[in-house]
Symmetry: C2
Subunit: 201 residues, 2 copies
Amino acid sequence: MAVRPARGDETAMRVLDVAERLVQVRGFNGFSYADVAAELRITKAALHYHFASKGELGAALIERYCDRMAASLAALAATDRSAAARLRGYAALYRNTLREERLCLCGMLAAEYQTLPQAVQSGVIRFFTLNEAWLAEVLTDGAAAGEIQLAGSAQDAAVALVAGLEGAMLVTRPFNDMARFEAAAGPLLAGLTGTLVSAGD
Amino acid sequence: MAVRPARGDETAMRVLDVAERLVQVRGFNGFSYADVAAELRITKAALHYHFASKGELGAALIERYCDRMAASLAALAATDRSAAARLRGYAALYRNTLREERLCLCGMLAAEYQTLPQAVQSGVIRFFTLNEAWLAEVLTDGAAAGEIQLAGSAQDAAVALVAGLEGAMLVTRPFNDMARFEAAAGPLLAGLTGTLVSAGD
DNA sequence: GTCTATACAGCGATAGAC
DNA sequence: GTCTATCGCTGTATAGAC
């Protein structure tokens, strides 16, 4: 089974759905094939048919996650005209994930990074690089249009944004209180756009 | 064995040293009694004498970590006169941890939160609360002295600071490049103090 | 593509000797 | 306080029937 299962492979997709949620909630070292199999009412052996090893499953998870994120970013760029609106839309992706009591898949995997199979590690790197590249472009455009005030490079600001949002999810979930996320995420955008952004924007 | 071992219990302290590093590097679900025992050249059974269960070990880890953090914060408050200097000192605590390729103990545990024994979960909450209370006081004092510009409440700014620093560690370690940490952490302080803070300050 | 059955290592934890 | 020995369970992974 390839890292990227065929789009029509319904069982493989269901496996990815369940495993993705389990990683986002419990971590890569906090779930097992047995957990996925039980939820789908199939056997562990059937799982291994679709994803021979846990590392392969992890790599496929990131692959799909990156694809979907790239699609979300493309949609954001197509919808929102202003850089500030694109950034608010970007933050909303994190907010919506946290609302389901999940962390970002790759934020979770970043914590467990030192224990991950090599293919999963490089996927994590790819995800962050992808995000920062998109953000840096939005920030560069916004700065050129006078919408965004950059203190340093656009790339550095992109890194700071991703770090801030990942951190906001991380320290919010134990308290189960979205107000903490807003307190942590708000200043990230406010500092760039020079505006106060209220919760839910 | 109590959650807080006697200060003179040398073996227990060595166990905590090793376990702490293992959790910070690999996570609570990424290390085992066997790992600790092998490193200390004792048996798993001896470990269980000092910490009957893994949950008890985890609780003791946080207990000591909170004590040490409280001591560091008290030392910072005693040394640095300005609020900005205290905040820089606070950020340096995170930087120094990351330099050893470790995450914050409780940042790591926050990622794994949903899988942790209850006693460990409440310890994580306690750690963040402790940090935010200290930061909120520094920020309040700094605002009163005109050193700090707060857009919202001091408590919200404290939450944002902790989130930003935890996130900076999280997204830096996979890249093994401290420049990423500086890019992510710099704006956190700059936004409060109105100054650009260069790496290493 | 899914099953039963199983291999084999590792896990947290305990009993009891010293 | 540390040991040997072991328990019961779960982990990932595989073989081979259907």
